[in-house]
Symmetry: C2
Subunit: 327 residues, 2 copies
């Protein structure tokens, strides 16, 4: 079952207006959700939308709240998300980081008390569209054991690196766990082994069996001790810059809310050598291509999926789609 991008966006928009969003905010929020599905990130597009609405219904998300400026030190600004919609807050922050970068080369916005930003890559693409290099990350609730531990103490704290290029966006959107719970469930339902070890079984052995990992909840960080450390430092830097909740503190809240995030934009426009730089980057991408079709740069498959989904419609799980239609 495939649904056109416009139809999906319109349905999200209709529901958000019904929930009380202002027309402008409903439109942006609907677009960001629909673009996630359009680009193949279904887990944070259509499939996440019902949960987003339920968080509004539970009062975890204040649909009218907008970020409030707290303080700044030069190009580093601190904002309070006031528990507004995470994607609108994050969009605001990257936009603000880009504004600062356009004036001062680099802009950084740290936000506290915000909510799940849905698809992480959204804000990397936003920086790219403004001609900037973007780096941003968020903390999450505790959902992954630290290396050497067995209970979830770290978040999977997605981080995004985004590089503009005329051949298409170069976009790394990466969580610190090797696989998400959604991915493990998908493999388990299909009765397939993971392509690589994804966690530990009940005997504490690394395993490719998704069901065994779903039972132990011992997801493995990317690069084991390295991803464990990466998750921790991203959490601590977000806390340091925003003076917001840590993953530990988020774990004590009634739901995944009150997150801390960092948005960095670099504007290289005022520096020389742009043509040579873009050419050099293209040479690297061409070199990777020379190794065969199985070698992809981050963002390459996304653009293929986007083209397919715009032409043929976005594939949807009928359960999620019907749930949205019924809202």
């Amino acid at each position: 079952m495939r649904i056109s991008f416009e139809e999906m966006q319109n349905q999200f928009n209709r529901v958000l207006l019904k929930k009380g969003f202002s027309p402008e905010r409903a439109s942006l929020c609907a677009r960001l959700f629909a673009e996630a599905s359009r680009d193949g990130v279904y887990s944070h597009g259509l499939n996440r939308f019902p949960r987003f609405i339920s968080y509004i219904d539970h009062g975890y998300i204040d649909i009218h709240a907008e970020p409030v400026f707290l303080e700044k030190s030069g190009v580093l600004e601190r904002w309070d998300g006031k528990l507004g919609p995470g994607n609108l807050n994050a969009w605001f922050c990257m936009n603000r980081a880009v504004e600062i970068a356009k004036e001062h080369g680099i802009g950084c916005v740290a936000i506290r008390n915000t909510n799940h930003w849905m698809r992480a890559g959204t804000y990397g693409l936003q920086a790219i569209e403004a001609g900037c290099i973007g780096i941003c990350w968020t903390n999450t609730l505790p959902n992954m054991p630290a290396w050497g531990g067995t209970k979830p103490q770290l978040g999977n704290n997605p981080i995004v690196f985004a590089v503009p290029h005329p051949k298409g966006p170069i976009l790394l959107d990466m969580a610190a766990s090797m696989f998400s719970y959604g991915k493990l469930e998908q493999y388990a339902i299909q009765g397939k082994l993971l392509p690589v070890d994804g966690g530990f079984d009940a005997e504490g052995q690394p395993t490719r069996d998704p069901q065994a990992i779903l039972e132990t909840r011992r997801l493995v960080p990317i690069g084991y001790w390295k991803g464990s450390g990466l998750s921790l430092v991203l959490d601590l830097i977000a806390v340091f810059l925003s003076n917001g909740n840590s993953t530990l503190e988020i774990g004590k809240l009634p739901s995944e809310m009150g997150l801390s995030q960092v948005f960095l934009a670099f504007n290289p426009d005022a520096l020389s050598g742009r043509e040579a730089i873009l050419h050099s980057i293209e040479q690297t991408l061409e070199d990777l291509k020379s190794s065969g079709d199985s070698v992809l740069y981050p963002g390459q498959r996304m653009m293929q999926t986007r083209a397919e989904n715009l032409e043929h419609g976005i594939p949807v799980d009928p359960d999620y789609w019907n749930a949205v239609l019924a809202m």
Copy 2:
């Protein structure tokens, strides 16, 4: 065999002076090498020193060259390393990034035409000592296949995240390959299996056998496709900001030289809430400790090793030590 920190530093200093370094530059360079071994990073301390000297002898490193300012856009500066000693250049850059950050909240220095910076964590500790959060990375020569490929096209591009804290530095110093060649050789000599998969064997299967990986040279990136993407974007951002060589271009040079690096410092001093933030970070570290002695935060083991090595002397491989004494 153990050597005191002072003795090691003095020997390095003696050799560098003999090579023609100015006293001030010899002293800093010797200290940084000795501190790497003091902190347990032997591979980039004593064990790397002879190769550093041979690079000078080959003319790959110009011992008198200092970074030259090229241009800037606000808080983002671009410098040329003039193929000077990589650790002195990198030290200069993080110092400059901190200077900018003290004035404008954030400072960023991108340097091109520099050399291997030796121990990556050095510049994170440098930011921490200045009261700043530090992030820095370097590209390298091609030494790791991209995910899906078989020949080395990516660098292992180490990245550092450094967070100051009164309990001790929080320092992640992480390459994008799961294991270095040095580590694989160490396991192979000891006849041990790697603790986790470290690459692919001749049949293309993931393996913990270090010898099999040394033969295929198919090291695995951390998190497989994720580390592959991370390595690429770090290379491209370094190229974009510095207008310097990419990993692809470095691979065409006579040696690992002419690298591109990025140094970021964040100065949170002018922002409020410092006490609460440090307390929150401490709570997170305490929470990790509650999971047992096997859970460490990045930097924790380093401080234990430093204390041991300062008390008992730094353990040295006699071959390397005697080579330095003979210089």
